[in-house]
Subunit: 402 residues, 2 copies
């Protein structure tokens, strides 16, 4: 990152006030009320934000950089034979990927989409299984390196074909962590691998061995999902991994009755296990407000963008905040602000990001857009945006500047 000395004037912060931000060496060095005098060094450039709302960059907490068709040809969605089935979808995905444009190109297109909308912190799952081995991870590691100036990316070694059902996968996952993956993933220990103990032994065993965090996919509904979360909480606590484990999707949390979900929320909070939801459209998903109220870190991501799983997604985490609000019945200003927190600070908490946010000392990664305040930004998610990385303008109106 090139050191840039820059002043941002008339920046509207979440509290509605106009402020001047100083950026030095890519970090916020001062935030002062607009009316205060601030000494401007000779070298400093001034960016007049003219009262636009300044927001911290968005946290894309769950995406699949390796499997999107975005930027590639349109692939019509193929329904499962007999209702949603993870095994069948994984098989479709393998088939589709064989005919897709090079992964490298598709990943870059998807990154440009996300960065253009203002996500500068990301966690991507990358498929590690017998069919692709470590090749997807190798490709995405190279792309990550090329994009390091623009976006911070965590990679999860994701056993998309299961761990026990796919021989050799534990070794592949271990090799993936050695190669550069930051976290260990998992996939529906009960419904997919049919062996909750065996599956979690591998996941948490590798987490312990390699000292990495955990982020598991869990689509299982109802009591299957609930029991899996209980086991994950127990292992997290036993290993002292509080704050370092996430369950992605956790649809089953949306199926529990009032007493069961209250107990489960308390357990998640106590165990320091965070929950990722993209607020899917047509089935149950975790109750965001209730979980937050109990002290659970709830974060979000686009998940799939135009891939073998569904045709939706635009890589816009501010739009995702709107979707979370719309799906959760968040109408008040406080509730809309909570949806915004899910795609920003809560995401930073789940990803254990350092130096995040609009505070002195943090990295100067932020987004300016035309809205009076956070609730208005959430319901309108205006596409006219300027995205700054370390204080440098890197994207405008959805397009990355090069």
């Amino acid at each position: 990152m090139t050191a840039i000395d820059r002043l941002f004037t008339r920046a509207r912060l979440a509290d509605g006030t106009l402020n001047t931000l100083a950026v030095l060496n890519g970090r916020i060095s001062a935030i002062l009320p607009a009316e205060s005098a601030m000494e401007v060094g000779d070298a400093a450039e001034v960016v007049d934000l003219a009262g636009e709302l300044l927001l911290p960059s968005f946290v894309e907490g769950h995406i699949h950089l390796d499997t999107s068709f975005y930027g590639d040809r349109w692939v019509p969605h193929r329904p499962c034979t007999d209702g949603f089935d993870v095994h069948e979808r994984v098989a479709f995905q393998v088939e589709n990927m064989a005919a897709a444009a090079p992964m490298d190109k598709r990943a870059r297109d998807q990154l440009d989409l996300c960065i253009g909308h203002g996500s500068l912190q990301m966690r991507s799952h990358v498929m590690v299984d017998g069919s692709v081995g470590l090749s997807s991870l190798e490709t995405i590691l190279k792309v990550r390196e090329d994009y390091a100036d623009l976006i911070d990316i965590q990679l999860v070694a994701f056993p998309q074909s299961g761990i026990l059902k796919s021989p050799g996968t534990p070794e592949l996952l271990d090799a993936a962590l050695a190669l550069g993956a930051d976290l260990i993933g998992g996939l529906d220990p009960l419904s997919f691998d049919r062996d909750i103990k065996g599956h979690l032994d591998v996941v948490f065993g590798l987490a312990e061995k390699r000292g990495v965090d955990v982020d598991l996919h869990l689509h299982d509904a109802g009591s299957l999902g609930a029991m899996t979360i209980e086991e994950i909480c127990a292992r997290t606590a036993a290993l002292g991994m509080q704050g370092r484990v996430a369950v992605s999707h956790a649809y089953g949390l949306g199926d529990l009755g009032p007493d069961a979900i209250a107990r489960m929320a308390a357990r998640l909070a106590r165990s320091g296990v965070s929950i990722m939801t993209n607020a899917p459209g047509h089935h149950a998903f975790p109750p965001v407000a209730l979980l937050r109220q109990a002290g659970v870190t709830v974060f979000s991501g686009s998940d799939n963008i135009r891939d073998s799983w569904w045709p939706f997604g635009d890589g816009d985490m501010l739009h995702r905040a709107e979707i979370i609000a719309y799906r959760s019945g968040f109408f008040t200003d406080d509730a809309l602000a909570a949806a915004f927190d899910v795609v920003t600070q809560a995401g930073a908490d789940a990803l254990r990001l350092q130096d995040y946010g609009l505070t002195v000392g943090a990295k100067a990664d932020f987004v300016a857009l035309p809205a009076a305040h956070v609730p208005e930004a959430v319901v309108g998610f205006p596409k006219a945006r300027r995205v700054f990385r370390g204080g440098r303008l890197i994207a405008e109106n959805g397009r990355v500047l090069r």
Copy 2:
């Protein structure tokens, strides 16, 4: 509408082919494959669409032009004391409206928003009750007149404060129809007015007396909603009003079990009663695919845009198609096309619009945007659009040209 002779070349239609459209006197006079020669009159202008997708203008089938805050100050949402309550929300609305910018301005701002996104046919409910009398309708009638060149608007005389609970309302509704309202509305005959027979006697009595169509608001859930729909179907059939009655919201249809909804769908289809849903985010709503399969006309609308009921809404019916698809689990190309049909042809059917669509003889009301086909337009709902009314460019990239 000024007569404009214009040729649109390289227009991509829903079937993927490139075509030339000729527009004469505001109507589509010919559609020919791009490779065919077409005689260009001396006076004709040529608009090269360069392969952009050409779509019929969108049908905004349910909106409230009188009560939005869009373009006005931000009004934080005030929650009901004890969960959603229509009475309480109506009271909040009366309070909010007293402090709002002039209705005339707000209605124009909202129309510009809708037209900018490509809706050129609209049905708006307008509040008629003891508190406002006919004044809202008078204002909106004037606005409609001013916007006649840009958009076709049907107005529903809407008893927002009930009919029997609000003395004098039957007479006001009758006067509203005499003044220029096109349809008669209603509101939750059971839960609001507590008298289904009395309420529907007035609604269908006025429909018969004035020869107008019917579009009732029905928020009632479960069996309350189901019974109300049964009564509406029975009265529609008895009066021979098939095809002229709509139930807006009809949330209760989302609560029925498989057998009950199948029976109800058949009854709705037989009675020619259409269903309007905006695919709300956090509670049950009508099963769009099942109803369409049974032959029911399902149409859609933005409903409230940033008003006393909720903070959402952007006046974009293509985005609404995406929301319908997202909420209904529509993933395949056929299903995405069905969501698009809901905001276009099905809307035209419900509103009994003449001369609608991309066919020879129809009004040249259409939208050009960058997408390869309808499914891609639905999932991406690109904001870069050109909107043509009678062949004349009236809006670009969300802004009405003046």
